[in-house]
Amino acid sequence: MKKFLVSGTIALTIFACGNPGQNSTETSSTPAASTEATANGNPSYDPKRGEGKFENMELPATLDVAMAEKGKQIYEVKCASCHKLSDERLVGPGWKGVSAKHKPEWIMNFITNPDAMIDQDPELQAQLEICLVRMPDQNLSDDDARQLLEFMRQNDGVK
């Protein structure tokens, strides 16, 4: 008889475990969920600087031509598929004027940390509504990003 009662308990336990409602408190935060939670309205987000490792960048007034040339090579492999050098949009916006429009740290942060920025930055969110393709993370090193920035400056006429 004791054995029978144990069987009954087992059956009940199984039933309870099979009920999805029982586990609703277990829902945990995934990496994706936590970024979503901070989207739209993180009070600490600085739309001028963006989010990432760069801040307060002071750039020389003149162009480093060799650096810009390296940036151009990276542009052709990793960026040119979607960005023209004019102001015309292809997949993403054209690059003309971008280095004047944004602070250098914003650009550097965006191209090295695009996912976090797209989730938070008001302008990037507006762009996403137009382009509908999130800018891919092209795995740029800090040096790559700096060279690209120099190429953007060259494209904007810095000499």
Binding site: F4, G8, T13, E76, N139
Partner: protein, 663 residues
């Protein structure tokens, strides 16, 4: 009161029914108790504790599960083509399936062994064997892809493989089916087995830095069937143990004729001695033919080389190389405990499990305690090497794994159970049913020096009522048991792919952080890579046309191609320009008679297409990549053979226009 009575009666009936169920322990729903769900529940977004690499049997694939959830994480094509991944369909991967018999896109993938350092799983590579057209493959755990496949000459049916030594010095292979060796004529009557058929075991060296495999030597043996094997470890490092059956040398109705002898053998091989003989030039160079295929992550391509020579050592001529230990009734599993002292032979037709002692075996060799020889190999007296026998463990013992706490767990095929026993005392301490007819079993690290004995999994041969019916065939069944307590507790049932032979598991952290996310586009050395849209082009060379094409969210470049003719061999070399994790792009063309491509970020893959009719053919990305994925497509214009429509290509502004010539 009356109400109370009837309630009691109802309860009694209910419990009686429950009790009746409990009396049938082998029904689908029984035998789970207590907190099983809690133990296997991995909440959404959380990672599993272990990676579990499971043989895909006759699917030729290796599957990867998370434990304890039993979630399927990945299926890796090894000896098989895989249309999902373009494996065996792209020009780059086809050479991986080359053999001396030509392109063999299938095999029977049996056993799984992970690379070890100091007797511990190191998380670098998984080795698997192909049983049918004898091969051994190495899967790289940075990419979870097959990196190398080595064919074995002088062999038929590679079953006792790919077990490894404790520092991955060697991976072994052995003939399940003895045959005349490759350098003599095999055109002999089958009933000359005894005279003409030979066995071999192969020792494949593994480069400790890059994993590259090479057949260091083969040992020629009398014609028998080698079944399973395991390396010595610790004090027995330097030895390898192979079970063999069919010492009757039967070649027909083996079911009966290979089951006559009371004892077959475990063959002990002193591979350190073999190395000495090899150095002393005692090996015989034999002319054979076998394929060695490697895949490079630098040029994203496989190469297949046919090798022509192998070194063979003779087991009968070279003293001290091999010994036979009698083992009851067609031994199957041949497992060495974590201390390296005990060798467990599982005679699949025996009602006991013999456990041999390495120390006693060495003593027996020293004392020449032999009962005779078999094909020139000394046969050690059974008792002289025996530690003891586990009496009446169950029916049909097949394989044994170890918990590192002095216990062994053996799978019992005929009586469908796992049986735990103490290695020293040889007493059975626990048993638990499996559903049904368990073959292999696996404890994480359970064949290494450092078992991580939280779970044991039974990989079963028969499924029956475990899952919803799916027609005449059901997926295979595996059961996960918690073995942290005194009693083994069933906590999960999960389906597997193909027939799960052996498996391995390791803590996730040994692999997780080394997993590659992208291939760096700047390091891509594929000769037809287009690193950036600037390098895209279409080049005609006679009737061959090479298309250098790029993919990025969400367009193809070029996406308009003209000037292709019926009968051309068109090679689409597709480079994925993405550099972000988990953004592969696919590539497919209407009517292509092979498959699709699935190109990883930074990688180049090639699809060959021979258009057989005039028309406009769409091509598109098959892997949903962005909100504009549906737009990620293009057109190819195919003109008649001999047409003079010029080659033109482009995307957007550069797309070919009517009445203009060239770009």
């Amino acid at each position: 009161m009356k109400l109370a009575q009837s309630t009691l009666a109802a309860l009694a009936i209910a419990t009686l029914l429950g009790g009746m169920n409990a009396c049938k322990p082998k029904s689908a729903g029984s035998a789970v108790s207590g907190n099983a769900a809690e133990k296997v529940y991995v909440p959404p977004g959380k990672y599993d504790e272990f990676y579990n690499f499971v043989s895909g049997g006759f699917s030729g694939q290796l599957s990867v599960y998370g434990l304890p959830s039993g979630r399927l994480l990945r299926v890796i094509p090894v000896f098989s083509v895989d249309p999902e991944k373009g494996w065996g369909f792209s020009e780059e991967t086809k050479p991986m399936l080359n053999t001396s018999h030509g392109f063999v896109p299938w095999d029977d993938l049996h056993h799984v062994n992970m690379s070890q350092t100091n007797g511990e799983i190191d998380g670098r590579w998984v080795f698997v064997n192909g049983n049918n057209t004898p091969r051994v493959a190495r899967v790289d755990l940075k990419t979870f892809r097959t990196a190398e496949i080595l064919e074995l000459p002088n062999s038929a049916g590679n079953h006792s493989s790919p077990f490894i030594t404790e520092n991955t010095e060697y991976v072994v292979a052995g003939t399940r089916f003895s045959v005349p060796l490759d350098n003599v004529s095999g055109d002999v009557p089958i009933d000359t087995y005894k005279k003409n058929f030979k066995g071999t075991v192969s020792f494949i060296s593994v480069d400790k830095d890059n994993g590259q495999m090479d057949i260091a030597f083969q040992i020629e043996t009398p014609g028998v069937n080698f079944d399973l094997s395991h390396a010595g470890k610790g004090p027995s490092h330097g030895w390898f143990f192979f079970s063999c059956y069919n010492t009757e040398q039967a070649y027909t109705l083996q079911e009966v004729n290979a089951s006559k002898n009371d004892k077959d053998f475990i063959m002990a091989v002193n591979w350190k001695k073999a190395e000495e003989y090899l150095k002393a030039g005692k090996g015989k160079k034999v002319q054979v033919k076998y394929a060695h295929n490697t895949y490079s992550d630098e040029n994203h391509s496989a190469t297949s080389e046919i090798r022509k020579e192998v070194t063979v050592l003779s087991s009968s001529e070279l003293e001290g190389l091999c010994y036979f230990i009698p083992c009851p009734k067609s031994p199957h599993g041949c497992d060495v405990d974590p201390t390296g002292e005990y060798i467990v032979g599982s005679g699949k037709l025996a009602a006991l499990i013999p456990v041999f002692s390495f120390t006693k075996m060495l003593k027996a060799i020293e004392d020449k305690a032999y009962e005779g020889d078999y094909g020139g190999i000394p046969v050690i007296k059974y008792e002289a090497a025996l530690h003891g026998e586990v009496q009446k463990p169950g029916l049909g013992p097949l394989h044994t794994e170890f918990d590192g706490k002095g216990n062994a767990i053996t799978s019992m095929f005929v009586s469908s159970e796992l049986v735990k026993w103490n290695i020293q005392s040889l007493q059975v301490v626990d048993r638990v049913p499996t559903y049904y007819s368990v073959g292999h079993l696996m404890i994480p690290g359970g064949d290494s020096r450092k078992p991580d004995a939280k779970y044991v999994i039974a990989y079963n041969k028969i499924t029956k009522d475990r899952y919803l019916p799916t027609g005449p065939e059901l997926s295979q069944s595996a059961q996960l048991y918690d073995i942290t307590g005194d009693k083994m507790q069933l906590i999960l049932d999960f389906p597997t792919i193909g027939e799960p032979h052996y498996a391995q598991a390791v803590r996730a952290e040994k692999i997780r952080d080394n997993s590659l996310k992208i291939f760096k586009i700047e390091d891509n050395k594929h000769p037809y890579a287009a690193k950036g849209e600037k390098e895209t082009k279409v080049v005609r060379e006679g009737n061959k046309v090479h298309v250098y094409l790029t993919e990025i969210r969400s367009h193809l470049t070029p996406d308009n191609i003209e000037g292709i003719r019926v009968g051309d061999e068109v090679y689409f070399h597709v480079t994925n320009l993405e550099q972000d994790w988990d953004i592969p792009h696919g590539f497919a063309i209407k009517g292509a008679d092979n498959g699709e491509l699935l190109v990883m970020p930074g990688e180049t893959s090639t699809l060959k297409w021979v258009p057989n009719r005039v028309g406009i053919f769409p091509m598109y990305c098959t892997d949903f990549c962005s909100a504009l994925h549906q737009e990620m497509s293009g057109y190819i214009r195919v003109s008649p053979a001999g047409s003079n429509v010029p080659i033109k290509w482009g995307t957007g502004e550069t797309a070919p226009e009517d009445n203009t010539s060239g770009q």
